[in-house]
Symmetry: C2
Subunit: 481 residues, 2 copies
Amino acid sequence: MAFLGRTLGSAVRRYSRGAAKEWLTGDFLDALRAVAGPTNVSTAAAVCEQHGHDESMHRCCPPDAVVWPQTVEQVSLLASACYSHGAPMIPFGTGTGLEGGVSAVQGGVCFNLTQMDQILELNTEDFTVTVEPGVTRKALNHFLRGSGLWFPVDPGADASLCGMAATSASGTNAVRYGTMRQNVLNLQVVLPDGKLLHTGGQNRRPRKSAAGYNLTGLFIGSEGTLGFITQATVRLHGIPEATVAAVCGFPSVQAAVDSTVQILQASIPIARIEFLDEVMMRACNRYSGLSYTEQPTLFLEFHGSQRGVGEQVEATGEIVKSNDGSEFAWAQEQEDRARLWTARHNAWYAALALRPGRKGYSTDVCVPISRLPEVLLETKKDLLESQLTGPIVGHVGDGNFHCLLLHDPEDVDEKGRVEEFAKRLGRRALAVGGTCTGEHGIGLGKRQLLREEVGEVALSTMQQIKAALDPKNLMNPGKVL
Amino acid sequence: MAFLGRTLGSAVRRYSRGAAKEWLTGDFLDALRAVAGPTNVSTAAAVCEQHGHDESMHRCCPPDAVVWPQTVEQVSLLASACYSHGAPMIPFGTGTGLEGGVSAVQGGVCFNLTQMDQILELNTEDFTVTVEPGVTRKALNHFLRGSGLWFPVDPGADASLCGMAATSASGTNAVRYGTMRQNVLNLQVVLPDGKLLHTGGQNRRPRKSAAGYNLTGLFIGSEGTLGFITQATVRLHGIPEATVAAVCGFPSVQAAVDSTVQILQASIPIARIEFLDEVMMRACNRYSGLSYTEQPTLFLEFHGSQRGVGEQVEATGEIVKSNDGSEFAWAQEQEDRARLWTARHNAWYAALALRPGRKGYSTDVCVPISRLPEVLLETKKDLLESQLTGPIVGHVGDGNFHCLLLHDPEDVDEKGRVEEFAKRLGRRALAVGGTCTGEHGIGLGKRQLLREEVGEVALSTMQQIKAALDPKNLMNPGKVL
């Protein structure tokens, strides 16, 4: 996308002009090898390329070296080495980000943390678990099988939990269980100079605390710009006695979104409420071999006791009916539910498959629920007028939705239209009291929108915090601010 | 309490030695009067005394002047005047804090914000409201009558919502609805130099956001040390269709706490679960004219649909029975519930009335639920051995409880025992992975415990943030850090 590409391009030019990478010496690389072991440091071009991009279409900026630390002590020693040499550091988890967060715009050393993948401490009585940065949400939930517990935050991708904390991820279950902000109790962080920080104190996991500044909250969503998250203690939840999923079509976008608003206003404790427009439904049908009616649709899930779920379904059914929704297509068995949610999770790939060879870019606005119908309708109209393919999918229970914009990277005109559309959509969200990013973060592409969203004083406050905690600007430089 | 008194005393001595209060001139006071109006600035001794203490037993440290700003513009201009003159600034809401947060240990200007008491914007569709700092939780809930909405965070005292944000308050409903951390969407803050900060951007209220550093979260719990909270946008909740409260006695502390742990582990969405030991029950019976059996007791409340509440009550009843709990004493009518919770809310005064003329000090530890029984039992034993009266009351669903320690301020020996007991209790909580404060904050008395709790690196990170945002250390100096 030209908008993002240009921003990034100018950042690269600005830095590359002055920065001679004096730190990049054989001695420095030997120092990294001495800490991590010789096979855990690579400067191979192919390896660096792999680590220079995430799943977004932001331009690849490879780091100069990649290290695979095995322990937090190694992360600390490696950071200390980078810090004293002035080498930029970029944390890397699963590389499933969507805003270019791992792009090494100034080069530097990428810390691939996936080999630190131990689940350190499970407390089934307190519903907490502590994990290393290589543990993904699926690995954790696999580990929890049989315990009666699960971790609900689900951004779709099988991201690492520490990466999800760094991005303030959320996803389909957030309407009921909250985002990472509500589900992280404590973090272990390696600061840029190698010091080890426990944001809530070492080995602490009270359900609440009023002890000093909320450092845990500060690191959630800091996108790797303040330090390496090397451990996360998260809250678990009891697996509900009953789970029922359903699909329901609507005659219009307005009817689907009105139903969402009314379900929330009725305080029905719905676990998932996902909107897919008719274009996305067509894509999902094709990609996942389904045969849903191709109209604005809600995917719903209810959690609770048998009786409680029945009651939720009944109340939701009445609301849906009053908005001319179809009968529910039920998915009560685990297997049917898995098929339904796999189709939803594959929406990104399904959208890409609509126009093979095209690149995708996902927008991420989040607006107050009451403003969602108008914003969605205006966005649909804008897509038409801009002659863009952009199937819509959204966590509408939170007011958060994504246009998956497809474009031909060679088509300059189309790229320009995508760029303009994304800017307009971001500003449309800001105009109604929303945010340019509900869950993907700022990364590289939304720094201008962040400025417009929070204003100069908030931005300069963030910059002061960044300067205080990372005075040499070595942690994932060029991101967020 | 000697422990706290000494800490404070030495702080006062340290500062008063060097600080000549050169800022305290007639011209400076005239500048304040020019902004706030002559009748809204006072240097009268009685007024300053009133503003030098909260509800705790921390020694009164009066400010040198009190101002009553009427608008955020005035707060900004007044802060700017204080900043340029080097005058300490102390935000003051309802003065209901419990850790000496408003104590003017270096003197300075107290900003009494209670006259800014407008409810600015209610969004019933989005369940949000924006309030000025003088709006208390009871005033907000009174205003919301008939809307079907309410604000559940309830620390007992009728505190201001912005003060509750500053303290990271919680209380009896937190087990279901979360603390202030989960219920504040955005804050307007006047920074020490008078600049106006919107932590989440001006007029923004999305349900979630991943846009930049979480400044909202940083200011929640900052105890007035980073700026003045001059507006809060908070989440509201739908009033449940049905509410039922109950009281249940147990043969032992262990049985009551085991029931709590089991209720939580069964994922029963209980709204309130409060523990009172037999000493506190005696105090409440006497003070509120009740006749409950004087044994370890749980006060419970269930929210939901009629059917849902029935189901919760049934499941809870089975757990209670298996732990030899008594039959529930029901309070289904609004009036009965009000009597029950008034008795609970008056626990502090009921405890004080146990030994008239004594002072009270409330401890505030919060531990992982699984460790709660042992910590409570050890604490009861310690009270006996220390020959102290300390009725216990707690938000046990969060693992948070208070010993309301009664002591004769003239009895040096008793004060010493209170001091030692409070330290031991704090360290007992830290030893099992808990915190020294679940909801009262650090204020003056727990700075040493904060250091032990979070460690040197976290403390120095907090100090760096403080220095970045308040470089002259003028915002509520001497607190937290």
